[in-house]
């Protein structure tokens, strides 16, 4: 009698677990070549409309899901799993599940401050938000510098999705997005580099929409004895990162060099002062709407050469090239400044810009687009 009851309870539990499992099958671990399952039909909206749908989605939709990220890191592809929750308009919670060395990492972002908790160290980092602050100008740049095309429709975890591609006119990473037809959420993305192929892929293996996620889920209460490290002020008081080179020069107290010629589509988007310990650097940001190249300039005596990377020559000056995977770094010395370029642009592009920098042009201002 007891055994029969136990079997019945087990059967009910199995059924309940099966019922709770996601109805849609998970996306395959290996990313398939980017090809839409169904061709474009006349009824489909334009690629530009779908792009706007994807950009508007975070303001309109709440979701909670499991995302798989595969990214090139130090020459190898690394896979990371993260539980991602979003509550409109700008609450974001990221809980990293695997691999083991990031498991438990928690980032809660309220659109102003990002709090990053590292449980293994009981450390909390307070930093600026990692979310888009409504870069309308960058979106205009994106439209100007990228070919946006609708490739068709595809199925991602049982949901219909539009597949759009964003191809830069110049050099840079080409992006492909799978945009959910009903909500506009990006369900899957692929970033390709001309020389190395796929460098970053992301996809949801499970996602739920229209949940009433409680506000408290996006609040963070640090545990007792937590060590707090604040990085919020590292670029504080620099006019929201929109300083001109002349203003920047005045703020840092050393000459700021700017590139006289930029890769196609890139525009100066503003400068800021980056401060950490005794190191003060001038920061210049260039964007083509989809990719960013950052230049950091500091007096040569204030910062040394990194141990990693390959030794290179930039205009006969010694330099170092560090390929971190998705992000590349080029460091070199020019006119008593140690300059670091960081970006997703190909190494040839970074090398081209490096060594051509000239003393700050007074007329260079943030481009209005």
């Amino acid at each position: 009698m007891i055994r029969q009851a136990a079997r019945a309870i087990t059967a009910v539990l199995v059924l309940l677990v099966a019922g709770a499992a996601p109805a849609a099958p998970a996306a395959p671990r290996t990313v398939a070549p980017a090809a839409a399952a169904a061709p474009v039909s006349a009824a489909d909206p334009s690629a530009r409309t779908i792009l706007h749908m994807a950009l508007d989605a975070p303001r309109l939709i709440d979701y909670e899901g499991t995302k798989i990220i595969t990214a090139l890191r130090n020459g190898r592809m690394e896979t990371v799993t993260v539980a991602e929750s979003h509550k409109r308009p700008n609450l974001l919670r990221l809980e990293y599940l695997s691999p083991e060395d990031v498991a438990g990492r928690l980032i809660i972002d309220d659109g102003t401050v990002a709090r990053h908790y590292e449980p293994a160290l009981n450390m909390l980092f307070e930093d600026r938000s990692i979310q888009d602050t409504g870069g309308v100008a960058d979106l205009t740049l994106l439209a100007r510098n990228y070919d946006t095309a609708l490739l068709g429709t595809d199925e991602v975890i049982g949901r219909r999705a539009y597949v759009i591609s964003l191809t830069p006119h110049g050099t840079g990473v080409q992006r492909q997005l799978w945009v959910d037809r009903l909500t506009g959420t990006v369900l899957r993305s692929e970033d390709r580099d001309a020389s190395r192929g796929l460098v970053l892929t992301t996809y949801f293996s499970r996602i739920s929409f229209s949940l009433n996620l409680p506000q408290a889920y996006f609040r963070y209460r640090p545990p007792a004895g937590v060590r707090v490290v604040s990085l919020e002020d590292s670029m504080a008081g620099t006019d929201g990162g929109r300083m001109s080179p002349a203003q920047l020069e005045q703020a840092v107290g050393f000459p700021v060099l700017v590139p006289p010629a930029l890769p196609e589509g890139y525009t100066f988007r503003g400068g800021a002062v980056s401060r950490f310990a005794s190191l003060t650097s001038a920061y210049l940001r260039y964007s083509d709407g989809g990719n960013i190249i950052s230049f950091f300039e500091a007096p040569a005596g204030s910062i040394g050469w990194p141990a990693m990377g390959l030794p290179v020559r930039v205009q006969s000056q010694p330099g170092r090239y560090i390929d971190l995977g998705y992000i590349r770094v080029l460091k070199w010395e020019e006119r008593a400044l140690r300059i670091t370029a960081v970006g997703t642009a190909p190494s040839e592009t970074l090398m081209l810009v490096a060594g051509q920098l000239i003393t700050g042009r007074e007329d260079l201002t943030v481009a209005d687009v």
Binding site: L55, Q131, D138, G290, P306, V329
Partner: protein, 188 residues
């Protein structure tokens, strides 16, 4: 108590800064050790000499010299402070207030050297700190800039926030002095 430890506590003993137990132990050692008794007598003599010195009075022109530039507002504050300090030192020298220190320098050159070294170390502290900061900057340079770049990437349209969080989070650990995340088994 051994001779070495008693020697180190002797100055504090003369100044009455030891606990009762320590003072008793030093007393017992002094009964047996002629060298320490001799050192003790010299220290007491120095203390008595210092205690007997009259307060050093500055020369008559000192206050006039000091007040005049302040009233005029012609000398920067740092300069008149330095001048004031120099004048006070000169006055103390004339009044013989430095005599005991001269005695210490002659009779206890090791102490004098230690004091000078300590003063130099204090003066050089900002310089040393700056060097340490620069060394730290060398170590964190790439991670600092990758962090700042990643934070800017987050503001570009359609960049994956979970990936930005991963890159920025890794860099933050290095900035806090932790070891960078290794390339583990999850890579292919």
């Amino acid at each position: 108590m051994n001779h070495h430890r008693a020697g180190r506590l002797l100055s504090a003993y003369v100044d009455g800064e030891l606990t009762a137990a320590e003072a008793r132990a030093v007393q017992e050692h002094l009964l047996d050790c002629a060298a320490c008794r001799d050192a003790h007598d010299r220290l007491r003599a120095t203390r008595d000499l210092l205690a007997g010195l009259p307060p050093a009075e500055p020369p008559a022109e000192f206050w006039a010299n000091l007040r005049h530039p302040i009233a005029q507002g012609s000398v920067p504050s740092g300069v008149w402070m330095l001048r004031g300090a120099a004048a006070r030192l000169r006055a103390a020298w004339r009044a013989g207030a430095w005599a005991p220190w001269r005695w210490v320098a002659v009779r206890r050159p090791a102490w004098a050297l230690a004091a000078v070294a300590a003063m130099l170390m204090l003066a050089a502290l900002p310089l040393v700190k700056g060097t340490v900061d620069r060394l730290h900057a060398t170590e964190i340079g790439v991670d600092l800039y990758v962090h700042d770049h990643a934070m800017q990437m987050g503001h570009a349209p359609l960049v994956d926030r979970a990936y930005v969080g991963l890159v920025a989070g890794d860099a933050e650990l290095v900035l806090a002095g932790e070891t960078p995340r290794p390339v583990g088994d999850n890579v292919r």
